[in-house]
């Protein structure tokens, strides 16, 4: 057996492994890489230029744990008349016509075992931007905070909020 053969085999073995990872990464299902929302909703227009308050659309933000997504009927109540010719509005109206709910891609997401209440945070005087960033300036919403436990606790510590695990862990 030639002396270089084991080296070549070893390199081929590990190289193959690397190649496999690369291929897997490349061929991950398209849905995973598709970051676009079903409708290109611009917060810059609604929250920014028009200056609508957050809870104009996210109605339950001060009343319950979830901020709530506006119903299609709510969007259409304005867009029946406003900018109806634009392609994105056409998309919106088609949802209404088909009688189909809009399934937005979730940007801010907490694990199943976490209890988080928007109401409690808003009513303690926290601004939406503290966690969500300057949404009014984002053409497409991005997550600007890690939403990890350490980050939560840093704020809880500085504001003297509860430090009990059971406050957030269900």
């Amino acid at each position: 057996m030639p002396k270089w053969l084991p080296h070549i085999l070893l390199c081929a073995y590990f190289g193959g492994f690397l190649l496999l990872i690369a291929v897997l990464a490349w061929f991950r299902p398209a849905a995973h890489r598709d970051n676009s929302q079903p409708i290109a909703f611009p917060h810059t227009v609604h929250a920014g230029r028009l200056g609508l308050a957050c809870n104009f659309c996210h109605e339950s933000v001060a009343h319950g744990p979830q901020a709530g997504m506006p119903a299609v009927a709510k969007c259409v109540s304005c867009h029946q008349a406003i900018a109806t010719e634009r392609p994105e509005i056409q998309k919106l109206l088609s949802y209404q016509k088909k009688g189909e709910p809009i399934r937005w891609r979730r940007i801010h997401q907490l694990p199943d075992f976490i209890y988080f209440s928007h109401k409690r945070h808003v009513s303690s005087g926290l601004d939406c931007s503290a966690c969500h960033g300057a949404i009014a300036e984002m053409k497409e919403v991005r997550r600007v905070r890690s939403l990890q436990m350490g980050w939560c606790l840093s704020c809880h510590r500085s504001r003297g909020a509860s430090f009990d695990c059971a406050t957030c862990h269900k």
Binding site: F14, A71, W104, P111, D112, F113, A166, K170
Partner: protein, 932 residues
């Protein structure tokens, strides 16, 4: 790059790749904009409560249904409902399992020639029925409708349906028909009805066979009454029965009598009471002469009671201000059933009616219910080929009719058999067409379980299958057969009926509260002497049953067996034997010793006509020659018919017993039937040995002392009130998404229930129940041993388990002296659509996590959230765990110990309060109130 660098790089890259795939966020990737805003007042992520009515048994308790994400996730008793007043039994709690049952009938089924079932569309099913109806009319055969108990507007529609199609409406079928009682009230008072017994006002309650806590008429109502009675020192409750039932276990006194001898006892009681000065004036001499002779010695010999016991009983009865005697259950299920019911009714007339102990104006609605005699007649007509189309709706006569009736064979003679059901049973197995019925939580409707009490049914979930409500089905069938129907659909029909019957105010009340009460005229019940004399003329007491005899006992877990297909109810152990899955026969320790039997050994029981082989469970306190066969899983729970009353016979006498030598593994969940002298429920003996900290010197601890600022949550369980009914266990399972694991895991000691009921027997066979759950100790042994700080003590005194931090070392469970921590050995998955029955306020625990009672942390959180909105602390009674809420006996109290005004503070500082295993110094937050 050298080899070492290469490997380092490789490790880094593959590690990063592996790590990046961690933390799955499956299932949460979407935010949905609904089409239209949600119903008024519903905030996403919060609960809504809607009133409804439980249809799991004929009692029809009032419900409040908790709705999350548009579907019912929990049922609770409606605190204001006149039937159950907030309590709900374990069957009621488990009825959500029926709603989401994986084997729910999905669509109409038709039996093929080879016996297999084929799915057919509704249109075809209805057309075939309409054609068969017409066909049998042409051939002058009668079409008939047999149903379980029906009340409310459905009753009116069924009447209309049957009369316009010429269908004969047969007497309704209920396995617990209480036919003997109704017959006796009919014979004596001309009122064949079931009154509401006022045990809540009696100072002496004597129950003969009537299983108030399990299945008698309205179990939650009677549980509330009986447990209050048992907890009151001034009032007394005495139960007489041949076997050992939960009702007997909870009475102040339990007397064991020979099966079939209840008649002799009642006769003697009646005669000795009638001779008392107090009752002499009321008792007509004409009847006295008709009664058979009776004396103390003969009665003692027949009943197996000592004369002294009998005399005590009679004198107590005679002394009582407001005595109430209730006869029923197994006492009327033998050949002396009619005399027992008649003599019982006479005693009631003599003693209870004068002070209003029986309320016939609020009678249970059983007027349309027949007996097995009606079923016998049907069987004869079937055999004579006189029945064309037979509908069987919401009942299982095949299972509940005795073999002698031959119903299974004669059913085949009907030209078309149509079954209406939600789950397959023995009866639907004999049907040609099976039509799926919607659940009570899926349709509109009303019920009238008790005269003057109307309960509301409303759709809280759209049926996922093609199931129809019975009302809709009737209307559709009517339209198919006659071309017209009284209303477009059931909802319209119902609305019209309601508008005709109720005022606008009443209707509003029905919708808001879920129930309505209508004042009923007071009835005066008179003893019709001529009728009574006629009834008593034929009174003949036969000899008691020949021992050894087996009692086929009704079950708290499955009623007459109708709830046995709900798996949750098999998972919760029987309170007396703690057996979860499977069937068994309970025998006395003496009998077991004589036959050399141990738990699980198979015993053959044989009579000339009947035989059964069951594994044995030794039951302390059981009479030596009486065996108890629970009704749940017996294939034929009725052994015959009483020809005089039409009641099912629930006894097998003159048994030949033979051990077969085989052994079964029974899932017995109790570690021991006795307390082994540990004083878990202290008796005076234990109280003398001071089990408190004074004997242990000052506490030495590495850990900081717990300090509580606003809340210290605590629980008090009154063992005097606890009846072991396990409603709390069922409520806990549903509220906390506790996995149901099955028989194999139970046998391996891997049950998951967070709350269990431990029965502890003393030497005399008396039992006390100890509900055991996480004790939320001040100095919890589990917390100190957790290597990852997953078990920790929170600032409100809760012993919290942080699920996602748990790594599954199980040290905590090993160190827990109360054995209340449960480990997930598997990833417990539920068959769809059962996975929809999930409380979203809790995560599902995955494999390898430890879990346990949290004092319903999620409910505390909701209460705190509400309080915080109003800038105050949680008030007493605002936070209630599921177990405390469901308890029909009101045995569990929960609250904040730092609030000195609270109910819990008072209970914890009561004379009776103690803590289990207090000598360990764990200082639990669960305080028990010992029975006196």
């Amino acid at each position: 790059m050298d080899r070492r660098q290469f490997l380092q790089m490789l490790g880094l890259v593959s590690g990063a790749a592996a790590l990046s795939s961690c933390g799955s966020d499956k299932g949460q990737k979407e935010l949905v904009s609904l089409l239209v805003p949600t119903e008024d007042g519903i905030v996403p992520g919060t609960e809504a409560w809607r009133p409804s009515t439980c249809c799991e048994c004929p009692a029809h308790c009032g419900l409040l249904t908790r709705i999350r994400e548009n579907r019912p996730v929990k049922l609770e008793g409606n605190p204001r409902h006149p039937v159950n007043r907030g309590g709900l039994c374990l069957r009621g709690q488990a009825s959500l399992w029926r709603l989401y049952h994986p084997q729910r009938l999905q669509s109409p089924l038709k039996r093929q020639a080879d016996g297999r079932l084929q799915t057919i569309p509704w249109s075809q099913a209805l057309a075939e029925i309409a054609e068969a109806l017409q066909h049998s009319r042409r051939q002058s055969r009668q079409n008939a409708w047999l149903a379980g108990r029906t009340s409310g507007t459905l009753n009116a529609l069924l009447e209309e349906f049957c009369s316009s199609l010429g269908i004969e409406r047969l007497a309704e079928f209920e396995p617990f028909s209480h036919a003997a009682l109704r017959q006796s009230y009919g014979l004596l008072f001309d009122r064949a009805d079931l009154p509401r017994y006022r045990g809540d006002q009696a100072d002496l309650l004597i129950t003969v066979g009537a299983d108030l806590l399990e299945t008698f008429l309205s179990p939650v109502d009677y549980t509330t009454q009986a447990s209050a009675l048992a907890a009151d020192q001034k009032r007394h409750w005495l139960h007489l029965e041949p076997h050992y039932s939960l009702t007997g276990a909870n009475a102040d006194d339990r007397l064991v009598l020979t099966p079939g001898s209840e008649g002799s006892l009642l006769l003697w009681l009646l005669q000795s009471l009638a001779s008392q000065r107090r009752y002499r004036g009321r008792w007509p001499q004409a009847l006295q002469d008709l009664l058979p002779a009776s004396d103390l010695a003969a009665t003692a010999a027949a009943t197996g009671l000592r004369s002294q016991q009998l005399q005590q009983l009679a004198s107590r009865f005679a002394r009582a201000e407001k005595p109430l005697l209730i006869v029923g259950g197994v006492a009327t299920g033998h050949r002396n059933g009619q005399p027992v019911a008649l003599l019982g009714a006479l005693l009631q007339w003599l003693t209870a009616l004068p002070w209003g102990g029986m309320d016939f104006s609020a009678g249970e609605n059983y007027s349309r219910v027949g007996s097995l005699l009606d079923l016998e007649e049907l069987s004869q007509r079937l055999a004579a080929d006189r029945i064309g189309v037979l509908f069987v709706s919401r009942c299982d006569p095949v299972r509940h009719s005795p073999a002698a009736l031959g119903l299974q064979g004669t059913l085949a003679k009907a030209r078309l058999r149509v079954g209406l059901a939600d789950l397959a049973d023995d009866t639907t197995d004999q049907m040609d067409l099976i039509l799926p019925l919607a659940h009570g939580l899926e349709t509109w409707g009303d019920t009238e379980p008790r005269r003057g009490v109307i309960g509301l049914l409303q759709p809280l979930r759209t049926p996922q299958q093609q199931a129809l409500s019975e009302g809709d089905l009737l209307l559709k069938l009517l339209r198919q057969a006659t071309g017209k129907s009284p209303a477009a659909d059931w909802e319209t029909y119902l609305q019209r009926n309601w508008q005709n019957r109720f005022s606008r105010v009443q209707l509003g009340q029905l919708m808001d509260d879920g129930y309505l009460t209508e004042p009923q005229p007071q009835l005066s019940i008179r003893l019709d002497l001529a009728r009574a004399a006629k009834a008593l003329q034929g009174l003949h007491l036969q000899a008691p049953l020949t021992l050894p005899a087996a009692v086929i006992a009704p079950s708290i877990r499955s009623f007459d067996g109708r709830s046995r297909s709900l798996e949750l109810l098999s998972e919760i152990p029987d309170p007396l034997t703690t057996i979860s899955y499977g069937s068994w026969v309970a025998i006395a320790p003496q009998t077991a010793a004589r036959l050399r039997l141990q738990d699980g050994d198979e015993l053959q029981m044989k009579t000339a006509a009947w035989q059964s082989k069951q594994p044995v469970r030794i039951q302390p306190g059981q009479a030596a020659k009486v065996l108890t066969l629970p009704m749940d899983s017996l294939p034929a729970p009725a052994t015959g018919i009483d020809p005089l009353t039409g009641e099912a016979l629930r006894y097998c006498e003159a048994l030949h017993l033979k051990p077969t030598g085989k052994r079964h593994r029974l899932p017995i969940l109790a570690g021991s039937p006795s307390q082994q002298g540990r004083g878990l429920i202290p008796t005076p003996v234990h109280r003398q040995q001071k089990h408190d900290q004074q004997n242990h010197g000052p506490r030495a601890s590495f850990y900081p002392e717990p300090h509580y600022e606003n809340y210290r949550w605590a629980m008090a369980i009154d063992l005097q009130r606890c009846i072991g009914c396990s409603a709390c266990v069922a409520a806990c399972y549903v509220e906390n998404n506790v996995p149901v694991v099955g028989a194999a895991d139970h046998l391996a000691g891997r049950e998951m229930s967070w709350l269990r009921i431990e029965p502890f027997y003393d030497e005399q066979g008396r039992v006390d129940f100890l509900p055991m759950l996480c004790q939320h100790c001040n100095y919890a042994p589990c917390e100190a041993v957790c290597p990852v700080y997953a078990a920790y003590h929170n600032p409100e005194g809760l012993n919290v388990q942080v699920y996602n931090r748990c790594v599954g070392t199980r040290y905590c469970s090993n160190n827990c002296p109360y054995k209340v921590r449960r480990f997930n050995w598997w990833q417990h998955k539920r068959t769809p659509p059962l996975d929809l029955l999930r409380n979203p306020d809790l995560p599902l625990r995955s494999k390898g996590m430890m879990e346990k009672c949290t004092f319903c942390l999620q409910r505390i959180r909701i209460a705190k959230d509400r309080a915080k909105d109003q800038k105050r602390l949680v008030q007493d009674g605002e936070a209630t765990p599921a177990c405390a809420q469901s308890c029909p006996a009101g045995a569990i109290a929960f609250g904040n110990l730092l609030d000195k005004e609270s109910g819990i503070y008072r209970l914890v500082h009561s004379q009776r309060a103690y803590r289990v295993l207090a000598e360990l110094g764990t200082e639990p937050a669960v305080h028990y109130l010992r029975p006196e």
